[in-house]
Amino acid sequence: MKRREFLARTGAGLLSLSPALSRLPEWGSGGPWLMIPMDDAQAEHLKAYGVAYRLLERGGRAEWLLNYRNGSFLMPGDSVTERDAALAGVTVEPMDDGQVVQIRGQIQQENMDAVPLEKAPKVAVYAPPNAPPWDDAVTMALNYAGIKFEKVWDAEVLGSKLKLYDWLHLHHEDFTGQYSKFFLNYAGSSWLVDMVERNRAMARSLGYPSVPAEKRAVAVAIAQYVERGGFLFAMCTATESLDLALAADGVDIAAAYADGTPMDPDASARMHWNEALAFHNAQLELSPTVPVYSDIDGHQVNSPDRRQPLGSFTLFNFSAKIDPVATMLVQNHRQVIPDFYGLTTSFTRKTLKPSSTILADEPGAPWVKYIHGEHGQGTWTFFGGHDPEDPQHQIGDPPTDLSLHPHSPGYRLILNNVLFPAAKKKELKT
């Protein structure tokens, strides 16, 4: 489905939900409604997404009230949802028809919109079978909210299994095949040895001459998935390395330890940026010992002489009725959010393609934090940094316990992305 069609269908959906015109038949008992407020009245912001998701999973429907009380959810009152919310500690407010009509009136008059949520998206998380010594913010958010997902890795991606999923998440992955450039600095660490062995074995089993060659094939398959209508959400290194891998068509960007040949010293000039999703004109890091890929990342956390301090990023305010997609992605109860490092923390403005939509940036800084764009019939969203509630996550640190951060605005952005495909009625073309 093209974005134009999506907007048209969304509009049609809104008409059908408008109480002045009609009521969806399955909601038609006239009984009370349930509002899940997403402003500061909410006791469990993150689990609220799980309650909405599970309602869709049960075949129910809901509305996402964009910009109304920071992106609240409206749904028909039913005992199962109430029970689910009570168990999760999610604040719900019972509403009668009169209150709902009043809310709809306010939505029509202000920069707000109501988007119907129709289908629980099938979620896949790209992750190696072993457990690396760092956490994955999205996996933690999904587990905490109680949203089901399946894990996929290279064999599934290259085996065309992505067509089974609506939403794909990538996290701390290195699609340049250089093991996050930890190969030299962490030589001998058991987790690195394991990672190298697994990746080499996978590349061999799939018939590729090297890990970088195999990872590029995976990156291309992921781009094709988006092109066919998939939703891609990437964080941390996966953002930058995916685009570098895509643009490195016929260019050796991997160090000798990864593929046996040194990196092409003229790689930056020879990249095919038209094949990348979000970035262009980046300068690649030539040193294999510096765990930095390029100047796409603004913060360069692992390069002591280039490292930039953390600030805060600000979410953009979009027109809900004209641009509901971007509006959905930035629903939050905080507009300014403390920044957090990752191997790729941010994206420099100079390397952004003009087609990339900025969802959040650090005002005055040469970098942005959160971007979105279209590719073919699908969309991609890139969010820099590793863990929104652990600003300086180190290798080996324990995973973040989200029950200590139930209001995390950074994690809310991740969950906006999970629910966003629910708003879109679509079938993947294969």
Binding site: L87, G89, N143, A145, A255, L286, P288, P398, D401
Partner: protein
């Protein structure tokens, strides 16, 4: 004169070139830095600083083999400089030229006969390419040419560890440590990684080294690392050399390995080592070590050993003040633990002037508690009579409870307030108040007896007595609270089925706050027994039935953990 000026100018230019090259390297412009170093080497091929700089600059840009022309020139210009041979070995390693590595190492060995360095550097260069076989060949050839069985033993040992061959590693570490004792720490650290199933074989092979102190010491430290500290001490003690300073150094080494361990065995081992060190120390340093040993023994529960250490120390007027008062307090603590309360009281009265008032009062209350535990409540009451502190009120409340005086106990526990004792004491007091307040009877000697049994450490009898008392009380009037406590005791003593029965009996609708607490305890018990689904259902029931309970957040967290939604902590 002109010539000397020209020489100065040339030297200055050389210096400037080096500074520029170094600056380029520092800024990360490795390609330009490499060129700058090359320029210097073109005029001065034997300049080791420039050659090392070139090596550093080429590494990050994966161009290490490109140093070879400069290396060849440097070897011609300065054929006896060992640093150049080291660079040469690494350069040929990067060029993956094992024959050239071998040739240059042997050339170096010819100009430095008897030196291990050529072979060590050759092996290290091979290892930098992950070529363990090449490294092994280098070390083996070195050992053969040098004609010493212990040559390059440390290197061989580390290679064996990398291959997880701990038997060979141990065989190599022994001569390495004998030659260079500084290797001992690395040897122990690497051998400590040996898997469980071969550890006893490794220890046996150390036993076969007759009368070898190095082997005994290595064995002792490995035993400590592998969680058997007392055996470690037993191994080391008979092997200690007569020379006191060497013996103390070995004992302190073992003590350092034990410092972070708090198990009973580790504390006992610490006591024995401190005792052994004290016996070898000059008179003026002995008492403090004996006191430390006594404290370690006391913490481990070995009262006889603690008393032996303290003998004479508490009454020793020549010992430093802090040592003698510390010894006296430790001794009184030991006496209280042994139940020798009269002697403890007498000694405490004797040291009143020399100890801190708070420490004194603490020991006084420990004596009172000692009388309580001995079942002599009258003696406990009289010992407490003169004390009007809040801590004394808390203790008096407990004594009232053990007498069965429920009202009196509640009054005194309330009067103690929230700040008496430490946090654990305060929590315990709150728990007692929660237990007693729903009970409407003023006097309940059976409950007092059950609680006294608990104080005396007889959990089994306390559990059954509590259950009997609970049977006579309605759930909302203390019956549920007592069943909950009995259930917790049963769970703590491993009687899971009794605990489950008692928790279920306490989790009745009209039991007030005890009901959600019993449901939570039941869910935790079910989780511990692997009955995940039942636990989840129980937690869900708790949350939905008692939404106002203060335990709901804890139940939600347990539910999250049971479902794997948050990491287990």
């Amino acid at each position: 004169m002109v010539a000397s000026v020209m020489l100065c100018a040339a030297g200055s230019a050389q210096q400037e070139s080096m500074s520029r090259a170094f600056e380029l390297e520092r800024r990360g412009n490795y390609a330009a830095a490499a060129e700058a170093y090359r320029l210097i080497l073109a005029t001065k091929p034997g300049d080791v600083a420039a050659l090392l700089g070139l090596e550093r600059a080429l590494l990050p840009i994966s161009r290490s083999p490109q140093i070879l022309p400069q290396v060849r020139a440097a070897l011609v210009a300065s054929p006896t400089n060992p640093a150049i041979y080291g660079v040469a070995l690494r350069a040929w390693a990067a060029d993956e030229a094992p024959d050239s590595m071998r040739a240059v190492a042997l050339r170096w060995a010819r100009i430095a006969p008897g030196d291990e360095s050529p072979y060590r550097e050759w092996g290290a260069a091979a290892l930098s390419r992950r070529d363990r076989a090449g490294a092994r060949e280098a070390y083996a050839l070195g050992r053969e040419r040098l004609g010493r069985a212990d040559a390059l033993a440390g290197e061989m040992a580390q290679l064996a560890v990398a291959d997880s061959d701990f038997v060979t590693a141990l065989r190599e570490w022994l001569p390495a440590v004998r030659r260079l004792p500084g290797y001992r720490v690395t040897a122990v650290a690497t051998l400590a990684q040996a898997p469980q199933d071969i550890r006893s074989d490794l220890l046996k092979s150390l036993d076969q080294q007759d009368d070898d102190f190095t082997a005994r010491r290595l064995k002792a430290e490995l035993q400590v690392r592998w969680g058997d500290p007392l055996s470690g001490v037993k191994t080391l003690e008979p092997a200690l050399p007569a020379e006191k300073s060497k013996a103390i150094e070995a004992l302190r080494g073992l003590l350092d390995q034990l410092r972070s361990q708090r198990s009973r065995e580790a504390l006992l081992a610490q006591g024995r080592i401190l005792e052994a060190i004290a016996s070898r120390m000059p008179d003026q340093q002995g008492p403090r070590l004996r006191l430390e040993a006594a404290q370690a023994y006391s913490a481990a529960g070995d009262r006889d050993a603690a008393r032996r250490m303290l003998a004479g120390l508490a009454d020793d007027s020549s010992a430093p003040g802090s040592v003698s008062s510390g010894a006296a307090m430790t001794l009184i603590g030991v006496l209280i633990d042994e139940g020798k309360l009269d002697e403890a009281s007498r000694r405490l009265a004797g040291v009143r002037a020399g100890v801190d008032a708070e420490d004194y009062a603490d020991l006084e209350r420990r004596i009172v508690l000692g009388w309580v535990r001995a079942g002599d409540l009258a003696r406990a009451d009289s010992a407490l009579a003169g004390d009007s502190t809040v801590e004394a009120f808390a203790l008096a409340g407990k004594i009232r409870l053990y007498r069965g005086d429920i009202r009196g106990a509640i009054e005194r526990l309330k009067a103690a307030g929230p700040f008496a004792g430490d946090r654990a004491d305060a929590t315990h007091r709150t728990m007692l108040l929660a237990l007693l307040q729903p009970i409407e009877t003023d006097s309940l000697p059976e409950l007092g007896h059950a609680m006294l049994l608990l104080e005396q450490g007889d959990s089994t009898r306390a559990t059954s007595e509590l259950e009997k008392v609970a049977a006579g009380l309605p759930p909302e009037k203390g019956g549920a609270e007592l069943r909950l406590l009995a259930g917790r005791l049963a769970a703590a003593t491993g009687k899971s089925e009794d605990a489950e029965r008692l928790f279920r009996a306490a989790a009745v609708k009209d039991a007030g706050a005890a009901a959600p607490a019993a449901e939570l305890a039941l869910a935790q018990l079910l989780l511990a027994r692997g009955r995940q689904n039942e636990a989840v259902a129980q937690l869900e029931h708790l949350i939905l039935t008692y939404p106002e309970s203060a335990l709901v957040p804890q139940a939600r967290r347990a539910l999250d953990q049971a479902r794997g939604a948050v990491p287990k902590t």
